[in-house]
Symmetry: C2
Subunit: 113 residues, 2 copies
């Protein structure tokens, strides 16, 4: 059985089914997952807006589902699919378009101190 977290959400990775590119990480509640499976398009639960979120409803960039996977301890979802446009709100194909540098992590701790 799937394990949802204390907020009744489960993290869901969206991946391009052909290229393998990781597109984004979102969160699904049970209803979002059910709609993803039944509609063939990715639904998330928006933590900021606190509502179901049909990915691409506004932007037009939907993600068509090819297959849905769970991990070994049933607390993460992987959706392999094809996006109909740029997945990121910045216009990038993927949300992971920025490489992280060690200085960026150190900067974080200095600001905390």
């Amino acid at each position: 059985m799937l394990k949802f977290n204390e907020k009744s959400l489960i993290p869901a990775i969206a991946q391009d089914a052909d290229t393998g590119e990781v597109l984004m990480l979102g969160y699904m509640n049970e209803e979002a997952l059910r709609r993803t499976l039944s509609s063939g398009e990715v639904w998330f639960y928006s933590r900021s807006r606190q509502e179901l979120w049909h990915k691409g409803e506004t932007s037009g960039s939907r993600i068509k589902v090819h297959s849905v996977w769970k991990d070994c301890d049933s607390d993460t979802i992987l959706v392999k699919g094809k996006a109909t446009g740029p997945v990121c709100h910045t216009g990038n194909k993927t949300c992971f378009f920025q490489q992280l540098t060690p200085s960026e992590v150190d900067e974080g701790s200095r600001q905390e101190a």
Copy 2:
């Protein structure tokens, strides 16, 4: 600046740098991320054991880091790398080896009811 969650953790996707296969999702605290960047091997923070976790320390299946990315809103990490063995504790190459069926989600709700 990176956004850690209310438990001071950030989800981190590990992906095979060559095949694009998604291997697992783990969680890093700031120290795990720093060690990942400085050592060139993936470190997580184990939520169950509540301690830093050098991935593969016990199993021998480490993940050698090729590059580290952050997403557009700086609250998810993507590590592209190469595992030295099966990443999953089940012996599978990836933790995502089971496909999810609609019946499994419905089963969850029936058990809740």
